[in-house]
Symmetry: C2
Subunit: 211 residues, 2 copies
């Protein structure tokens, strides 16, 4: 599932990072509705074409940068299931905490107002995020930490959900997010270890080489 | 923590229900930005004053009806901790599933665009929802099912989060929400039973009569 960026193209990485930095900076200076692709291109020092090669719309660009720049994120291999769960949950929480609840809610409203963007969100970001969860499960199976594969869709929502609700729905203190992430991981790790989570309905396909 | 409505005022209950029904019907016929208090009053057969006695704005009315009409909801006492957890999580999921992801995201964006509404959301709905969780914990302690009181704020976000992310952020199949709720409850009940969840930092205040 490695993307072009993950396979190593340093110049593209630099452009990705410049765009992401510009989006974050601009959203700390103005609100989400007044963010423009023009302003991001100027701030990042790149052409608008470089942005549009990556993102079809301002909304997709913002979603990608703020919520989950999936192109740049493999799930960390920390050497243990619990470590991997904490790394992934912390990564999700850190990104959600970068933007305000209002920015994220406005962005989500835009995404769902545009069926094409909603479909693109599903097909790109969500698919990659779930494949990160699937890779984490595969590594745990290889290590012998799991004897069955839980459904990655369910595991993903159990890790993401509390962080998303804490930061975006409830607008709670981001400083307590890492504490919550640790609780979530403790609870989910125990559930996985005891076989509480249901088995992936696509188990029969899970013997594919996850590399 | 019982509100006036919970203490039993049948006429007020009927008006509450008529408003809620009108909001739900209208949002199935038109999108969220074009919903008005006038249209809700007409559909519900009540005066606008009756609506404004309950809700300061269209946004608060919609939030109350769609997300959590806390005034009308005590947490169900099913006789067991696991039953109570499932009843509460199912209640949250059923209400989230009533409206589309787009409606809910637009509403959240409106809430966070208005500091007074955000504060009101925190003070009314969220406070009541958390007191429902606290009451559920108190009942389990009285039954002897829990020997410590977990933090109700944390327990609330662990129950709410996956349902919220499933239905609103990820726009997933509402038909699978009850299946997810059962998984969430199984996982959280085991965590509570094994003492995995941290203790309420306000433990010293928890001896108050929860009735």
């Amino acid at each position: 599932m490695a993307t072009a960026a993950q396979m190593g193209r340093p110049r593209e990485h630099r452009v990705d990072r410049a765009i992401a930095k510009a989006v974050r900076e601009l959203l700390s200076e103005r609100d989400y509705p007044s963010l423009t692709v023009d302003a991001v291109a100027t701030r990042a020092g790149v052409g608008k074409a470089a942005i549009y090669r990556r993102y079809a719309t301002k909304q997709e660009m913002t979603f990608s940068v703020l919520l989950h720049d999936a192109r740049d994120q493999a799930a960390a291999d920390t050497g243990s299931l619990k470590g991997d769960l904490l790394a992934l949950t912390t990564q999700i929480a850190d990104q959600l905490a970068e933007s305000s609840a209002g920015v994220m809610a406005g962005l989500l409203a835009d995404v769902y107002a545009d069926p094409a963007l909603a479909e693109r969100f599903e097909r790109t970001f969500l698919a990659v995020e779930r494949s990160n969860v699937a890779a984490l499960i595969d590594r745990a199976v290889v290590r012998g930490e799991l004897t069955h594969r839980p459904d990655p869709v369910v595991l993903h929502v159990l890790l993401l959900g509390p962080m998303f609700a804490w930061l975006i729905m409830l607008d709670e203190d981001p400083a307590r997010a890492s504490e919550l992430a640790a609780v979530v991981v403790e609870v989910i790790h125990k559930a996985l270890a005891s076989g509480t989570l249901s088995t992936d309905p696509r188990e029969e396909r899970a013997d594919d080489d996850p590399a």
